[in-house]
Amino acid sequence: MRREGLTAGVAAGFAAIALAGCGGGSDGAQATAASVVTAAAECPRTWLAGWQRIADRVGAPVYCPTWMPDPLDGKIDGDYRNVIAVDDRDRSYLVSFIWLDRDAGGVSSEVHVNFRGYPGSTRVPTCQETHTVKGVTKRRPIPCFSDRRATRRVGGLDVDVYTVNQGIDQWHVLYAWRRDGSLYTVSEHVAPPYGFGRVVSNLNRMVRGLVLVEPAGAAGSG
């Protein structure tokens, strides 16, 4: 696959957690049918429990999707679960969904969406770029999200659009926004069956449908 030559040893956060890379990770599940949930004002009933667990664990609001690109759904313990990770050091979280279509020996199509949150921090996190040549390794810090292309108003949020991202968000278009002192992101892989334009369209629709899930004990939701 094209991306394999470009991994460049970038280490994302969540150092203690084995992340399934984009296209190289867990199988998730083979799609059998589209699972489309129409936009709603609240987190879909069958998805809510998982997102509530994340909110409770990080002690901060998280964004639950109400629409996901075909064939994914947003059920955290569902068929398309890829990586669910919380870094207890800073309460940042990653929720990743993936669908892979395999053919003779490789992945021919992939739909891969990542949700992240960084409670209490609005800074773009730092990743590490690693070059090893003849056994000598050089590392340097780089932003995990870069090449900001635009800032857009989508679904009431001011999102920054990043096109060069690291780790599990590599080869993704990523939307990032800030709310109440925290940074949140959602990204989708640019890969067949979805080209760049469709991915942007998917992200717009996902962001328009996001609803906040407050941690248990917190007042209100919206």
């Binding site: 991306r3 460049a8 070059h131 040549v133 096109t163 060069v164 080869w171 760049f196």
Partner: protein, 473 residues
């Protein structure tokens, strides 16, 4: 959803139709206006030089505006071996070329026609005269300890895939103009109905043109129209698909510097038959635009296109390439040590720029730091060619793909070879920066794939038709 365009693709035996067919490139005329070009005088002694090329200033840098339309036709010869047949062929082709000269001025507003000849021609049809008259590359001969001609077979370079095809065409014709019709007419005149002279092997087409006035550039428009993956990510005014300007005046060799005689690299032999000629390398490369724009941020694209750590404003596309901006081999080595990365332009400069002042035979002084290669490369959506006589071998695909037909004039094949090796970290002093082939530290080497290569010799205009044939005994 935007429908992807398909090109008119004609398979074996239909070269004549493909010569004048515009395909997707017809859009070039619809998407842009022809630049205003200065008037020029008559044809120069050099075939490879175009007069009347406009200069604009972008980001404070002088930039040459190349012709909009480009076409290369390659062929094997169908001419019978032997003195009389070759002399007849020579007269026939020269007659066609002379008529084109009379009809079109040698500028982008008219038509530039450059006829270049491959080693198979010299070896098979004029071996005796070739042995006596092909110039010898003195510098390469001294460096390698054996006689090296200015024209050598093309080779695969470290970053080339094993599948890169090293071609064996007899002849290549480069046609350049702001007018698609001029290019089509030139191609028709030269090749249509001339089965007695040529068996066309490939037709390659493309375009050039940046959005220097602020409008959306031709490469961006064409890539978007063709539905190229990653087209949305090309900067709006980019001259090339990869997002940077590459025709900085200071980055291109001035007129005549790439002539075989100018820099004294060659022994022209007593006849000096090829004086005012040059060497031409022709290759095709595909570009993975998604990989480029989704994996390299702007600073990394600057780092690997020019030099690591180069400070430019966000979004900058035109970067100065003046003699003061040139990197030395030692500086490139330091970049490697520090960043494990070299810039494309920076790495080539130790071999592509003069390391001292040189005075040419016509008295022109070329200061230290002057660029030597005279590039004529152009964007293409060919995959890899517009038409091929051997579509299976050439891997012809209907789907448009972003790429470059790379055309460059150097004084010798070895001069091109030195530059291309430097791009892979093999420096002119023999030191090797130990990159893995196509590693990320080599920047856009990682997202380029060379599909075809061949070297040619461009004779002076006076000998452009079947060179040396008149000397057969």
């Amino acid at each position: 959803m935007r429908p992807a365009l398909t090109r008119r693709r004609l398979l074996g035996g239909a070269a004549a139709s493909a010569l004048a067919a515009a395909g997707v490139y017809e859009l070039v005329d619809r998407l842009t206006d022809s630049p205003v070009r200065p008037q020029v005088s008559g044809p120069l002694a050099e075939q490879h030089l175009l007069e009347g090329v406009q200069v604009v200033v972008d980001n404070g840098v002088e930039v040459l505006v190349p012709p909009l339309h480009h076409q290369v036709v390659t062929a094997r010869l169908a001419v019978d071996e032997g003195r009389s047949a070759l002399r007849e062929a020579k007269a026939e082709l020269e007659d066609v070329l002379r008529r084109l000269d009379e009809r079109f001025q040698p500028s982008p507003a008219g038509l530039g026609a450059t006829v270049a000849w491959g080693l198979p021609y010299f070896r098979r049809l004029v071996p005796g005269p070739a042995a006596r008259h092909l110039p010898v590359d003195r510098r390469a001969t001294a460096a390698r300890g054996k006689r090296v001609l200015v024209l050598e077979d093309a080779v695969r370079f470290p970053s080339d895939p094993a599948e890169t095809i090293l071609e064996q065409n007899d002849v290549a014709v480069l046609l350049r103009s702001d007018s698609l019709e001029h290019v089509a007419e030139g191609a028709r005149e030269l090749f249509d109905g001339r089965a007695d002279l040529f068996r066309v092997t490939s037709i390659r087409k493309g375009f050039a043109g940046g959005g220097f006035g602020g409008a959306r550039s031709l490469p961006k428009r064409m890539a978007m129209a063709a539905g190229i993956p990653g087209a949305d990510l090309i900067p709006e005014t980019a001259e090339l698909f990869l997002g940077f300007t590459s025709t900085q005046k200071a980055g291109l060799g001035p007129p005549r510097i790439a002539n075989v005689e100018t820099l004294g690299y060659s022994d022209l032999r007593p006849s000096a038959y090829f004086a005012r000629g040059t060497h031409m390398h022709l290759s095709h490369l595909t570009e993975d635009l998604e990989a480029w724009y989704l994996n390299f941020d702007h600073q990394e694209r600057v780092d690997t296109t020019f030099r690591p750590g180069l400070a430019v404003a966000a979004g900058t596309q035109t970067v100065a390439q003046d003699p003061d901006d040139v990197q030395s081999g030692a500086e490139v080595g330091k970049d490697y040590e520090r960043f494990r990365r070299i810039g494309h332009s920076g790495s080539i400069q130790p071999s592509s720029r003069l390391d001292d002042d040189v005075t040419g035979p016509d008295g022109t002084v070329y200061p230290r730091g002057t660029a030597v290669p005279h590039r004529a490369d152009f964007n293409t959506l060919d995959n890899p060619f517009f038409w091929s006589a051997d579509p299976v071998r050439d891997g012809l695909d209907e789907t448009p793909a972003a790429g470059v037909h790379f055309v460059v004039f150097n004084p010798t094949a070895d001069d091109f070879r030195r530059n291309r090796l430097a791009m892979d970290g093999v420096m002119p002093d023999g030191s090797v920066l130990p990159f893995e082939p196509r590693s990320r530290g080599q920047g856009f080497n990682e997202i380029l794939r060379t599909t075809h290569r061949q070297n040619f010799l461009v004779p002076p205009r006076a000998h452009r038709s079947f060179p040396l044939a008149e000397l057969l005994r």
